[in-house]
């Protein structure tokens, strides 16, 4: 049997657009002589439409679109993902389904069994779990169709009550198909391959695995669809971070492909660029703006944005204050020139002074402090947003995960932006990204990379005045945030107790700032945002 794997980049709730994209690909599959074409999980509405699923007409529109696609299922079988209604009235009102389209109609439907409800996943909010296990006969082959998490029973992340593969294997399937919406993180490629490989080896069955690609606001899907044979050998692999279309023939012999691990920094670089691109393309935006401070965070974001949407579409705004070093402005100018970005210099001294004059009746005689530091950061935000409002540039946020963690940021100041590019990238990784960007030539001036990090909001300020060395800080943060270790566990790993306690306290106290942060492109296994739901008012 000739099977087409269609790895596409859908847009959430763009039911008509997704349908058209699916029809283009299924026609390509027909032209290639495929007897089956496989699309990813919830392909008709993209994964995940979240609470749009609460709107009955949304699900109706999905169903109608699948019916229209079914009309094209003549001479070919189509597997497409869609929410479907649970007709029984027992259990939650929807299923997360794979619709099998044949002979112009929806011939059969298979539902997802394991419903992930952790981190960014929320499926038990909408879907009832499948309890009927059957293989589907396709061109004389017994095919077990599964959906994403159905293959992930073995993982220790979430204890499910039963393994759908145990049930399905009772029918001795000839082929396993899995339609997925499996999100990216920098460790996911290898983890995912091993899970899929184990399933093939354990049940002695080949697997056709079709994942979606694309970014939906914050959540990155890499794609990386593949075919693994029943011995666990990788025999076909689709691209990362782009659409792909491949034909697999079940009766053909394939050489084993080497599973290529990729460098984490390279993957992160690619994922962030893909995230910016998808955000702009799907929202219909073309131009970006950002505050260029002469520091490393804004420099890396500026370079990533230039790669993502074109240097000619990125505008840098340099907004020096009296506390900015001369070097910062020189470096920022050089960066824009290296990248080919337009830039403007708008000094904030006058605005800062006029805030001071306005506040004089209340502030007279009081010392310069946090309020005055924040006025600078917030004045910059007002300028950036004014330019955004005037010319339609979208403001990119340049905060990194280290400073977002400990609250070393100004709410409504440098925390502004439509999209946080690096809010899931620790400062130590920002340096790695900078060096990666410079691997062929000096794009980010080395003077930016080499200088001591500073917010430049008061004279001679350095990050190291208030924070430990980033190499220590980031390790503690990762243990607390990604690994969910507590104080005692972290201290046991060799860190100073007072320091760890202080850092954890800072992370907890700053939930209120992150509550109002922009969406953050997710590249780790635990990003701030929807995948980490920590109470704001608490005594933790």
């Amino acid at each position: 049997m000739k099977i087409a794997l269609a790895q596409l980049n859908y847009t959430i709730a763009d039911i008509v657009g997704n349908k058209e994209k699916i029809i283009v690909a299924l026609n390509k599959a027909k032209d290639s002589g495929a007897e089956l074409v496989v699309f990813s999980e919830l392909s008709i509405c993209a994964y995940s439409p979240d609470d749009l699923l609460d709107y009955t007409h949304f699900v109706n529109e999905c169903t109608q679109a699948v019916e229209e696609i079914a009309k094209h299922a003549i001479g070919i079988t189509i597997i497409v993902g869609s929410p479907t209604f649970n007709a029984s009235k027992n259990g939650r009102k929807l299923y997360n389904s794979a619709c099998i389209l044949q002979d112009g109609i929806i011939k059969d439907t298979v539902h997802k069994t394991l419903l992930p409800t952790y981190d960014i996943f929320n499926e038990a909010r909408y879907f009832e779990e499948n309890s009927i296990f059957k293989t589907i006969d396709l061109n004389g082959k017994k095919v077990a169709i599964t959906i994403c998490e159905d293959l992930w029973f073995e993982m220790d992340r979430f204890n499910y009550l039963g393994n759908p593969l145990d049930e399905l294997s009772k029918s001795n399937p000839d082929l396993l198909i899995n339609i997925s919406a499996s999100p990216f993180n920098i460790n996911k490629k290898l983890e995912r391959f091993k899970v899929l490989q184990n399933a093939c080896m354990r049940y002695s069955v080949p697997l056709v695995y079709v994942n979606q690609t694309g970014v939906h606001t914050d959540i990155v899907f890499d794609g990386n669809s593949m075919v693994i044979d029943k011995h666990g050998k990788l025999i076909l692999q689709c691209e990362d971070f782009k659409e792909d279309f491949r034909i697999f023939e079940t009766d053909k012999n394939y050489d084993e492909l080497e599973f290529k691990e990729r460098d984490a920094t390279e993957l992160m670089h690619e994922a962030l660029i893909y995230g910016i691109q998808n955000f702009f393309n799907k929202m219909g935006f073309t131009k970006a703006i950002l505050g260029s401070s002469g520091g490393i965070d804004s420099a890396v974001v500026q370079a990533l944005a230039s790669r993502a949407i074109g240097a000619e579409n990125v505008k840098a705004i340099l907004m020096p204050s009296d506390f900015s070093s001369e070097g910062s402005v020189v470096d920022a100018r050089q960066l824009s020139e290296n990248l080919g970005n337009s830039y403007e210099v708008l000094p904030i001294s006058n605005v800062f002074e006029s805030f001071g004059a306005t506040l004089k009746p209340m502030f007279e005689g009081l010392e310069f402090g946090l309020a005055e530091e924040n006025i600078q950061a917030r004045s910059r935000a007002v300028l950036l947003m004014a330019i955004s409002n005037k010319f339609g540039h979208i403001l990119l946020n340049t905060s990194n995960k280290s400073e977002m963690s400990v609250g070393y940021t100004t709410l409504y100041g440098d925390m502004c932006g439509s999209l946080s590019v690096m809010g899931d990238v620790y400062k130590t990784d920002v340096y790695k990204l900078a060096r990666f960007i410079n691997k062929d030539k000096e794009i980010i001036p080395y003077s930016i990379i080499d200088k001591a990090p500073s917010a430049e909001l008061r004279p001679n300020q350095k990050d190291s005045d208030s924070l430990p060395d980033y190499s220590i800080l980031d390790q503690i943060l990762e243990l607390y945030i990604e690994k969910q270790k507590g104080l005692e566990e972290i201290v046991k790993l060799g860190f100073d107790s007072t320091l760890v306690s202080r850092i954890i306290g800072m992370v907890n106290r700053n939930e209120y700032k992150r509550f109002q942060a922009p969406p953050i492109i997710r590249v780790s296994s635990k990003a701030f945002g929807r995948g980490r739901q920590i109470p704001l008012v608490s005594k933790w």
Copy 2:
């Protein structure tokens, strides 16, 4: 049997504080001769700790605290709510449990069966559902212990697979106990009473129902614990929005109490005040600040805050621009004087001009527009946050739900604040609140209530220039947001198709603003925030 109902206001993750509060109440119960004292769902950590449950040491600390409480269970039985580990390794790693403490130890544990995972609820993210149904013998009575949603099977909100009361009723219990964390909304009191009453009548069993009170950031719990007899008669009822402690004697005859419905505006008024109070008390804040525009929204928030934390702790900042009417400043001064709040007048003309001068190289020759309107709103935010930073006042947000819905707000401008007091209150209800506040005397000047709403960001601006009449707008918004109706369904109810389509479009387009909004005190059945998860990048 003498049973004490302990309706307490816990703080999330304040395990030590909650434990101490529980011990004080159980000693009071002992002193009253009670043989059983009942606390609410997850009382040891407050409902809901959300992803803190992912931290193993968090759950360990809860368990240890319950063990310490158990030492006091001498001569009295204590029922306390806590997360507990699922020892079986099958299913999710935790249970949402009622721990039964007797003879100085945790004698038994009962788990929650129905796990709500809709709107603000997320229990399937953490908990495995109970599958063992047993009654507990307490002083010779067979007691069926349930947890919150276990009594809500009949509701159409979420189709559960089985009704735990059907299972428990097989043992013919003498008494039903339910420990709850049942959140408030303005329609909830009657709805909840009917659900509980139906359970009693259907299974012919009396019910002791103990709910938590208090507000956790955005989610309000009213309390309203009660006892209903086996005929469905209300015989004991605790207070709304405060801690309460009552004794119920199973063998005593009680007269039927009238279930008092309360006026929606009065309830909303009380809930919002309680929300502000809890936010300040639990965070350790004392002083509030807000921008006082002379409009009705800020006036109502100022009055609510004055009631919540004391007039002497509320400071109003009047920040007129060249577009502010003389009346606005006069009205705002009068309001502060009526309320007894201190206030300052900080005109923004100089700041606005200095932004104009700074932006001149980019804006010269361009017309006044949205950018300039927003500079005014954002300059005010910078001033308010500077005062907040300098003196420790907490900024209250004054946006209402109508403007939050359609995006008639400035991100990083009037959308700033630590807490949105009225982000779940439609404009038409803001007027009702204003009249309710004025019921005994003119606190909010009638000139504020009677004037046409205006943002005053350009000459002669009125809300009605860009928005339909609020009485129409709010109906459409409620149908779309609370009732989750689509365009066609709303139009069928008699609204203009073009208007409905425009309003829905505005709601959908402004997800990006609400994404960065402060937490909103929830008083409706569907508030913006965690209970309404709509994708940002989408074609909906």
